[in-house]
């Protein structure tokens, strides 16, 4: 927190904006400082005037994005008294939040999935916080008997997360799969997920087995 301070305006934030865009699109190694300088409309030396190194700039981008991302998710978990409706909404909202932050998600996933990345621990913390809170939601519902007792809530949440991640990261190649044309529409997509998931975690007592929507 002492390093990686986040300025609010001026050329510093121009640089950060451009950096977030470009790192998100091409990754840390895929972006050169001179290209970044051009994109930001400043000189390369100026970037080094504001940030000690490429890595410090990168970490500052991650910190800034994490801050924004975390505050966004908290609004998803509230509302909806019916447990089915709440988890249904969660499934949709999770994918939607990822879609709205696609470049950032790609950035974070790159950190999480490769070894020895500079922002790995930071990204892990962001993902873990996010994830654990939602798992807790499922577990509580399960303990209240609103969901079937046998399944693992961590795995259920992981299914939601993994499918959402693959939808973002793999949109290119998913489109090329035959009989998956509905992939273009994220709502249809998460409905298809929800349809299976709900049958997988619904309580045995027949509390309206209407599938999603």
């Amino acid at each position: 927190m002492s390093r990686y301070t986040i300025p609010a305006a001026g050329k510093s934030s121009q640089i950060l904006d451009a950096a977030e865009r470009m790192f998100g699109a091409h990754g840390f190694e895929g972006v050169s400082m001179s290209a970044l300088a051009t994109e930001a409309g400043v000189s390369k030396a100026n970037i080094f005037h504001h940030f000690r190194s490429k890595e410090e700039l990168y970490m500052t981008v991650l910190h800034r994005a994490r801050k924004r991302f975390v505050s966004q998710l908290l609004s998803l978990t509230d509302n909806h008294d019916d447990p089915q409706a709440r988890i249904h909404a969660l499934t949709h909202a999770y994918l939607r939040q990822m879609l709205e932050n696609e470049p950032l998600v790609r950035l974070l996933m790159r950190e999480l999935m490769e070894k020895r990345r500079p922002g790995k621990v930071l990204s892990e913390r962001l993902f873990a916080d996010n994830f654990s809170e939602l798992v807790g939601l499922l577990r509580e519902a399960q303990e209240r008997g609103e969901l079937r007792a046998g399944f693992d809530p961590g795995m259920a949440m992981l299914i939601i997360a993994a499918i959402s991640i693959i939808y973002i990261q793999g949109s290119d190649f998913l489109r090329h799969l035959p009989s998956m044309a509905w992939i273009e529409n994220p709502d249809l997509f998460s409905d298809a997920l929800w349809e299976i998931l709900w049958h997988g975690i619904a309580p045995p007592t027949p509390t309206k087995t209407t599938n999603g929507n």
Copy 2:
């Protein structure tokens, strides 16, 4: 097929073996030709004697790996008369195959998930072939009434694939998630997946709702 011919022995295959290992571990950009030469025990110039460019070497690695990988999967789909047992086995086998080819999977996923990668179309074809065949398996079972009618077989297969991919690619950060210690054991892991998935796709008629194993 005319380019990217695959030699069987000698220093060429030494180079290919080392390249597959290193590209798998660090990605295309993360491996320098001199480091690769050292690893393979040959001179850098020798690599360029056998392969016109770094990219041609890379594509040859992908072709060779694809050949090996495809022939491996065909043995998974057979056996098991009981539909539940067959799909249960498929879930486990899919993850296991990925685990046995971890470096290659990481290689392919990097191609699939980033934009404008040299081996993207090749990787897409490999994944799509693989995936479509297994989706067909599920769809046929569904049409035979062995599985519930309402769900999308593409999504069901995507869940299996996505979870397996995340298990491989994200093993580092999954370990750091609280209450997911069982992540260390891939069989426990795919059992947890199977437990939810089977409830999600099982036919309504009670054909033994024993969960996996």
